[in-house]
Amino acid sequence: MTILGAGAIVFILVSLNVVAPSMDAERQRIGEVLDLHGSLWRALVELKHDQHDQLVLALPSIRERLQRQRSAVNDYLAHEASLLQNAEQQERLKQLTQQYERWVAQWESIDQSGSPEYMLSVSEKDFAPIQALLREFDRRERELAADAFALMTRRRQLFFAIVAAMAGVGALTLAAVMLSTKRVVLDPLTELTDSAHRIEMGDFTAAHQTLRSDEIGLLINSFAKMVQAVQLRERELATALGDSRELASMTAESRRRVEAAHADLLATLETVPAALMIFNPDGSVRLRNRAATDVFGIEPQNPELRKNYWGRFKRIAKDGTPIPQEEWISARALRGETARNEELEIHHPDGRIFPILASGAPLRNELGHVAGAVVAFQDIARLREVDRMKDEFVSIVSHELRTPLTSIRGSVQLVLDEANSVPDPEHRKLLQIALNNCERLVRIINDILDVSKIESGNLMLRRKAVHVADLVRQSIDVVVPPARNANVRLDAIVPANLRPVMVDPDRVVQALVNLLSNAVKFAPPGSTVTTTVTGSEHMVTIAVADQGEGIAPENLNRLFQKFQQVDSSSSRRKGGTGLGLAITKALVEQHGGRIFVDSELNKGTRFSFTLPTATTEEAASIAPVAANTDGSARLVARRVLIVDDDDDFRQLMKTQLSNAGYTVLDARDAASALQIARSALPDVITVDLMMPGIDGWGFIDTLRHEKGLTNIPIVVVSGAADAKKDARLPIDVTVVGKGEGDDRVLREISLALAGRRGATILVAEDDEDLRGVLTASLTRNGHRVIPARDGAEALAAIEREQVDLLVLDLVMPNIDGFEVLARLKEMRKGVPIPVVVVSGTDRSTTELQALRLGANVYLTKPIEAAALAEEVARLLTTNT
């Protein structure tokens, strides 16, 4: 019996020796492999992060970490390879390793100057297959492990069965032989049997170590060890089941990262001087920094109490009106609105007032829904105080400057104005310099005051409905004297039927005068500064254009800044303050308008600004504006200089021209005419040819060669019969015979004034004689003519160069006039070329067709040169 019992025990021990060690090794290997997968996964993700970090921060520490991470991955891969037994898995690991090495190599070889977004996308794209491979590899390894485990379980069951059987036999034997040892052997064995059963049911707590050192103790210990191994494996299996657990560990890692970033952010926020609050969708505060707590304290958690709590902090808008709770920046941000730098006051329940500059924005989740709001604000009490002090300082200083300036300026004015008080011209000049600089100082002070007022928001507009024509007229009046001094012409045209504007007239005049005096300052002598007005229902645009040297594109954006002048030397030369345009812009914007500048070097500069129109009710109070017959009001009377030695004729012309609305200057000889031309800069000059002293030809020659006078249109009014064919006269001088009647002279003057000289006109006419006549007539009016023999040539010319106007015959070979019109309409959708149709065909049939195709004017042959000139002049002016 004893032998039998001992034999049973030996059998058990042998079984254990056979089964347990091999199972242990396999379990350990599998556990290690699966562990490696987790480590490998994490190392790869870390590596990817490090690569991304490296994009943003090229720090040596990141580079080091990257290298460490890479060698870790390499170690894992090598270790894994040494552990694998399955050939299929070995092959898979090889693939994984290759893919990984390619990924790293690609990252290293990628152009680091590429955009981070691009590089990230590359990295992400090639990372995905590695992950997929690893996942597949891991899945397969688990399958293999499961197979191995199933095998182990079968062995275990077999083993338990033997143990149970042997225990049964042993129990009988021992009971019979040594009842005394029952307690010693049988009880533990019963216990062991019981445990084995429970373990089969999955209860591992049954296993325990005993302190017995005999064979049974050995048996129990071995059993416990085996159970532990199973338990460990079971746990590993449970941990490794699917990716979910892997992901859980990943999530923990990300959470750690997020929490660290969050802690950094909170610490940073505490040190920021601006107050910052993040709201939950229900309006409760999710996050706040110290600066916010300083103002608002901490609100109660209870939603009802919370509402009352916030309600005690009154928000007052800049205009002094309270802001209702639903219009608070936080409330608006939670509705999805963004607020930027809004100035308001928070009235604290304890009586403190915080003037703040606040911004707010919604926080959106990945679906784009508002998931909260961030509000940031800044206490601007000190800023306001400093601002107020600055304004006060400016105000006092300017006031203190005005008093001494008053005496200096007044004294010099009175001395200079007294006849013969300063006989020495040198002294007069010096006093004049003193006076000029007084004026300049006054302008600077006024400008600085205006800027200060605008910046402090103290510029109050006294708006009323006014006619733009009145504003333009007032402004022009101010710049007439400086324009005359600078030898610059002024022109201003305001169309009829403009809606009145709703503005502060003084301020708009100030803005317009600024632009006009700038234009006059920079316009070359003899050029014209033109004011034009266009309007729509809601706004009116006023533009001031000069023909000056223009502004380089790179300087345009600096133009409206304070104390900016494109060329500081020109600033001193032109006597500007560098504030005019900044003030003008602010004034326009205060009205709700906008200001624009277009400029071309050596061509000129054009400033334009918009103003809001008055509503019908607002405009009801003012009288309609007076307009002249052509529908638009010319606000500057044109000056005509009559040069004629015949007193009666001159007197007659003077009366007629005055009646026609011109300002008339006259001279009876060329010498005094030249003086007048230089000082008064007439818009047009009529000249008699036969005069004593310098004759008409000589006078015209002088005009044409004197800078500033070259471009003045000249009308020769001559009694000489052959004056029209006079070869000595420049080609662009119009000639009228004294016998042709007064109307003719008047018409030529108005044509000379209206006609833009130097336009490029395309004449498409197949009849050679007529083409010659048209060309000569247009050339005589100062235009450049491109002759074309048919429609094809005409279209080619239009393709080739800038054409200002087209004179077009309808019936031509190849491509006729109609087709030219049709093609033109297609070609020049945006900028139509004005077209004068000349046709021999009966009007009624073709006129409508031509006009429908885009012709502006229809003239029937025979063409009268004067009529053509008139239409050309009209079209060129209306299209400029």
């Binding site: 105000s395 006092i396 300017s398 006031h399 005005r402 008093t403 001494p404 300036l405 008053t406 005496s407 200096i408 300026r409 007044g410 004294s411 004015q413 009175l414 104005d417 007084c438 006054v442 006024n446 005051l449 109050m460 003084d506």
Partner: protein
Amino acid sequence: MTVVLAEDDLDIQLVARLALKRAGFVVRVVGNGQEALDAIRQEPPDVVLLDWMMPELDGPETCRRLKADPATASIPVIFLTAKSQESEIQRGLSLGAAGYVTKPFDALTLGQHVKDIVNNSGGVRL
């Protein structure tokens, strides 16, 4: 036309006096508001020019008293002001001033401006 000019700055006094004299005014010059009130009550002028800031009695207060006294209420008052504050101008007009002249004024046209204001007497801005 007679004018009482109240101005505490002696240099401006002289310039303004000469400028007004050239324009044909008979000018009496005083150095503050109180002296102006005395001079005006003694012999009412056609127009009064008041500097805004003066010692003892300033321009606005002088104007208020002139307008409060039926004997002097109808005399047009013109302020000399440094235009630093538009509120000043508004306040001056609300006190019953006929207009204002901004400093530094134009010595050659000061007289004409004063005449224009007196003729319009409706708060014309210069």
